[in-house]
């Protein structure tokens, strides 16, 4: 049996991208929630993501790197079509990345400026990512309706990141800030539910391919498990945050796990809609793949190194377990 390398790399890229949206998603979400908190809370919020954000963003580099490496033809088409949103995202990521460092060292209005840039950068990057996703789903079709669709996806993704960020804070903070976070999580959940519903309804209209894939009885019945599971995860988050709000005994990780599950399920749905296309209706993973010699060489490296990456990522989360404390550098 020969290995279907493009398929293997699609799976690898999928894992990297999913890891990215969940991991950087929570820290982008925390960034977007900054204006809703007071100054002491803001310090705690930033402290809760300080040790992780850099590694989280590395998943984006890996995901894009794999796209570049394994599917060079698609990389050019996709990033060429998304040139401006990519630039907007990069500028957003840059601003918020350095704001982490600058805000703790600045005083007075400088600090306010970096707080604002941290929020702005997080928001700009999230919006741009959602917009790019929206354009991907419709295969970069021109026309007002398609652009509107991309904007709706962008709004939905921001809601998702806010949900992830808020549930992360539920896990990582205590007292008044945790209570606030529970409310933010519920707002985020409503926002996500609206977004997912809108996108789910709009996608079959926006793309004939997607419509054909999802509305094909009896397969549709099996596929309905995906939205049903998403609904269950949503209800799980709502119930868990409700119990935590009442002070009932519930695991503090439960809302975050539920939010991550919603992301994983939505990701699975999108992956199913797109597959086997990398550029919707235009280029499949096999058409876009790089030469096998390059892919095999990377596969060896990935097979050896990824377990180590997983191990020391777990180690890092173990070292920084528990509630966030202010006094970042001490």
């Amino acid at each position: 049996m020969t290995l279907d390398l493009p398929l293997v790399f699609t799976a690898l890229m999928g894992v990297a991208m999913l890891a990215y949206v969940v991991l950087d998603g929570y820290d982008l979400g925390v960034g977007m929630l900054m204006p809703a908190a007071d100054q002491r809370e803001q310090d705690l919020m930033v402290a809760s993501i300080g040790p992780f954000w850099d590694a989280n963003e590395t998943w984006l580099v890996l995901g894009v790197g794999l796209l570049l490496v394994a599917f060079p033809a698609a990389h050019g088409v996709i990033l060429g079509a998304l040139y401006l949103p990519v630039a907007a995202m990069l500028i957003g990521l840059m601003l918020r990345g350095v704001a982490f460092e600058f805000r703790v060292k600045a005083e007075g209005w400088h600090r306010e400026l970096w707080n604002w840039l941290f929020w702005f950068g997080s928001f700009l990057a999230s919006l741009a990512q959602g917009f790019m996703l929206g354009r991907m789903i419709t295969g970069f079709e021109p026309g007002f309706g398609y652009w509107l669709f991309a904007l709706i996806v962008a709004g939905g993704l921001c809601g998702g990141y806010v949900l992830l960020g808020a549930t992360w804070l539920v896990l990582r903070t205590e007292g008044a800030l945790q209570k606030k976070s529970l409310d933010w999580a519920r707002w985020g959940l409503v926002w996500v539910a609206l977004g997912v519903a809108l996108v789910s309804i709009a996608t079959p209209f926006a793309s004939e391919t997607v419509r054909a894939k999802w509305f094909d009885f009896p397969r549709t019945l099996a596929l309905m498990l995906l939205p049903l599971a998403s609904l269950a995860a949503g209800i799980w988050v709502w119930m868990a945050t409700g119990r935590l709000k009442r002070g009932a005994k519930t695991a503090e990780w439960a809302p975050f796990a539920g939010a991550a599950a919603i992301f994983a399920l939505a990701f699975a749905g999108l992956a199913y809609s797109l597959f086997p296309y990398l550029v919707m209706d235009k280029m499949t993973i096999w058409e876009a793949a790089a030469h096998p010699s390059a892919l095999i060489f990377i596969l060896w490296g990935a097979a050896v190194v990824l377990p180590f990456i997983a191990a020391y990522s777990v180690f890092s989360y173990w070292v920084f377990r528990g509630k966030a404390r202010a006094g970042l550098y001490d």
Binding site: L68, M94, K105, G301, V319
Partner: protein, 436 residues
Amino acid sequence: MNGTDALLLARAQFGLNIGFHILFPTITLALAWILVYFRVRFARSGDAAWLATYKLWVKVFALTFAMGVVSGITMSFQFGTNWPGYMTRVGNIAGPLLAYEVLTAFFLEATFLGVMVFGMNRVPGWMHVTATVLVAFGTTVSAFWILALNSWMQTPVGHTVAAGGQLIAGDWVAVIFNPSFPYRFTHMMLASGLTASFLVAGLSAWRLLHAPEDGAALRTLRTGAVIAAVVAPLQVLVGDLHGLNTLEHQPAKIAAIEAIWQTQKGVPLVLFAVPNEAKQRNDFAIEIPKLASLILKHDAEAELKGIDHFAPHAPPVAPVFLAFRVMVGMGVAMLSLAWLGTWVMRGGKLAPRWILWSFAGFTFSGWIATLAGWLVTEIGRQPWLVTGVLRTSEAAGRVGEAPLGASFTGYVATYALMLVAYMVVLTHLAGKGAQR
């Protein structure tokens, strides 16, 4: 759309990004190892002054590292957006090298940086020392891969050409350890050593100008000066070897560096001139007879190939020639100051204020030398992107001028803000000094 303008814009944008990016790894590469030194000194002695020193420089490192990360993420996108032709033709070689950098270096650095910066009170001392070492190791591994790729683009070997014109790696060991790689890698590591040691010495001198009695700053000034005094002569030696390697593999670059227009014997060394591209000659030249032949061929009468031999595949002379002189001039100045400073401060003597001012003025001197050197090597390989294989003009994308211009403006504004903030914060941190 005018194709030439778009190509120029694409090159300017990429050049700006990579030039901005290179500033920060140039510091962190060596600063990471200097931090290992501070951390080990603290672990050995338990001296709170070493701990305070370590904590101050970790802040500088974390800030510089963040600047490098975010500008580096930009690079990973621009390979595809600005140079699609590059990925199409040589993606099967460039891609894996970049992927290895992400897999073996980026995750390692990013994860253990968290432990290093935030975890001192959360992990045992030995684990924290290990985290510091792993971050330093990760930055070096990162430099290894990126310089392997850059060197391969300068001196490509180990590949075959497939039917569609795509390059396929035949022998990965040959690709990675290509002829110019050992020289370029060593040259870059030493450049980082100089840049970081002058940064440490310069910021410490700045602190001493405000607080002459600060023992920690005096110690780091000394550390920086001594490292620079050792690394600078090594760099002269490696730079010379690198030049001879370039003469062997990229003679056109040498012709541009030395502004040799016509192939001739007994070539003079041009100390300074204004290269005249139109007339293919040097105006206002100050030359030392036969010295270029002597340096490059170790024979005063030897023949050196001129630009005329390589045209039309020759680089522009003026920028390469001038940037080379900036690099060497900066290097000589840094060597002199490092030796002078070490000599003046020998045996624990205090540094006079003029020495402190000199080091403070040289805080970012490594940036100037490194950027100049980078311009020499990158412009010097033009018109090739991959020597003899792919021209820069063939690799450029077809992004319109409007989006290019818009994103270019956005990048320039962002970089300007970041650079100003970076330098202000660094000076501010240095002014406060190490806090017990």
